[in-house]
């Protein structure tokens, strides 16, 4: 073998290795791109369609303005326009109602879940109330409390309290009686059993109720603000439409969607913290 041969083979070898490693990096990048495409591809395609649909002429830009205009309106609205104030008012309404529903629903559910007799007695009433649309009752609340904040907060409270209450009752009832018996064998009293077995056992179900309620809280918020309000993100959707501020209307809609995502994410994050034992893996 001549020196030249050795050199060639070395170079070839080195080259081969380089190709292999670039190949590996390329494959990894490709896989990452694939993952991103499956995760966000539809979202990106939707955004692109929205943005260029008007410009290319198959969407009426007067009704559906380009996404960039909407985002600009959202930014302006939040920084210097009406959306910041609307957001604050809406969050206050939904927050008070959701907070009150949680503060009332969870303790009441924990008690009722442990008193089968009381639960049986009240359950038909709860089922009836749950099935009665809060929106249908909104005129009643307006009659009783006027068109101010109280009726708005109350209709949201009404819509959110029942899912939380029923989920909490269900969670308590589903706690394994065998675990309670185990605790009893070790001499645990009612209070200890409640704190160490019933409450932690009910928490996953309670979170199911909280997430359901957060969704209906936003739904009711928008409805209440559309019907009789002069502030709030829901009001702004209607108001912008009346005034033909279409980008602002879409900005308010996007803001509501983001609010829903944020609420869901916040509750999920709290659930993960509290229920680490339940996580997969």
């Amino acid at each position: 073998m001549t020196i030249q041969d050795v050199e060639t083979s070395l170079v070839l070898g080195a080259d081969g290795a380089r190709t292999a490693s670039t190949g590996a990096i390329g494959a990894r990048a490709l896989r990452l791109a694939g993952e991103l495409a499956t995760r966000f591809g539809a979202l990106i395609a939707f955004a692109l369609l929205w943005e260029y649909g008007g410009r290319l002429g198959f969407l009426n830009a007067a009704v559906i303005p380009p996404l960039s205009d909407v985002i600009a309106a959202l930014w302006d609205g939040l920084v210097s326009g009406p959306l910041r104030e609307d957001l604050g008012i809406s969050l206050t309404r939904a927050g008070i109602a959701f907070g009150a529903a949680t503060a009332l629903g969870i303790p009441l559910g924990l008690v009722m879940g442990q008193l089968p007799a009381a639960e049986r007695l009240i359950d038909p009433l709860l089922q009836l109330f749950r099935q009665t649309s809060a929106l249908a009752l909104y005129p009643v609340f307006i009659l009783l409390m006027g068109l101010g904040e109280a009726s708005k907060v109350f209709v949201i409270f009404w819509a959110t309290a029942f899912p939380i209450l029923l989920a909490t009752i269900g969670g308590v009832k589903e706690v394994d009686g065998k675990l309670i018996e185990m605790a009893r064998v070790y001499g645990a009293g009612r209070l200890t059993i409640f704190a160490r077995v019933v409450l932690p056992g009910a928490i996953p179900q309670i979170f199911v109720g909280l997430r359901l309620s957060a969704t209906s809280a936003l739904l009711m918020l928008i409805a209440a603000e559309m019907i009789g309000a002069n502030h709030g993100v829901g009001f702004q959707v209607m108001n912008a439409q009346y005034n033909f501020q279409i980008p602002l209307m879409f900005a308010a809609i996007i803001l509501l969607a983001l609010l829903g995502l944020a609420a869901n994410y916040a509750i999920l994050a709290l659930q993960r913290r509290l229920c680490r034992w339940n996580a997969a893996g």
Binding site: K178, L179, M182, Y186, G187, T192, V197, G201, I203, W277
Partner: protein, 256 residues
């Protein structure tokens, strides 16, 4: 021996115990006038067909059920409800899924107001005893059935019971794990010097573990039978005496 004699601990006296259930308007005698003395530190295994009342008897001893008539005394005191001198191991491990192995094992001590440090030190000792030192921080869903049951056993042992009541503790395990766990139970019983009352439907398990086997008949017309197991420990499952005793027990069930 010192002048002050050690108090006899973990002695059970059962007198004319009766319990009936009503099923579809029919009265079903599960226990009828059962009298029995369980000696301090012995391993009594209760066998019987399903419906013979073996689990009911254990649950009465645990204080989880009340007898219709008769008394149970433990170390001379009548049983009224659950008591700190008894611990129960159930067929299911009954671990709290939101607690780690260590936290589950300290549960009984927590309830009794032990400080965290003391409870954990005690719990770690028993976790080691059941061979799960590496899993102290695992959650129950990460454990196999046999491991979970060993956690349950460790939890029962931490409260230092005089009497360990076991209700088909190995019934849900596969055959291999079961044999390993029988050896483990036998070792723990010897080391902890605890009175053990174990319910099973596995005759081999009964002979492997028991000082005496109580055979509960299905029809209460027959009296219950007590069979002494005078085999040296550790027991050899294939020895002639073991096999002969197994035949004898099978005959009790009319399976010979």
């Amino acid at each position: 021996m010192s002048a002050v004699q050690k108090e006899i601990r973990g002695e059970v006296s059962i007198r004319r115990l009766s319990k009936a259930f009503t099923l579809n308007d029919r009265r079903l005698d599960v226990l009828k006038g059962l009298s029995l003395d369980i000696r301090s530190g012995e391993c009594l295994v209760i066998v019987g067909a399903s419906g013979s009342g073996k689990t009911t008897l254990l649950r009465i001893l645990a204080g989880l059920e009340k007898a219709d008539a008769g008394e149970v005394d433990i170390d001379g005191r009548p049983v009224a409800g659950v008591g700190s001198e008894r611990a129960v191991i159930f067929q299911e491990p009954r671990l709290l899924p939101w607690l780690t192995v260590l936290q589950n094992v300290t549960f009984g001590l927590d309830v009794r107001g032990w400080s965290k440090g003391r409870a954990e030190a005690e719990a770690r000792h028993y976790i080691e005893l059941v061979g799960l030192a590496d899993f102290a921080d695992a959650y129950p869903r990460q454990l196999s059935g046999g491991m979970a049951q060993r956690v349950g056993i460790a939890r029962a042992l931490t409260v230092r019971p005089e009497i360990l009541l076991l209700d088909e503790p190995l019934g849900a395990l596969d055959a291999m794990t079961k044999i390993a766990m029988q050896e483990e139970l036998s070792r723990i019983w010897r080391e902890e010097k605890v009175t053990m009352v174990l319910v099973t439907h596995d005759l081999e398990e009964a002979i492997y573990l028991a000082d005496r086997v109580l055979v509960l008949p299905k029809t209460k017309a027959q009296p219950p039978r007590l069979i002494d197991v005078n085999l040296p420990r550790p027991r050899e499952r294939s020895s002639a005496d073991f096999v002969a005793l197994r035949e004898e027990l099978l005959a009790e069930f009319g399976l010979h």
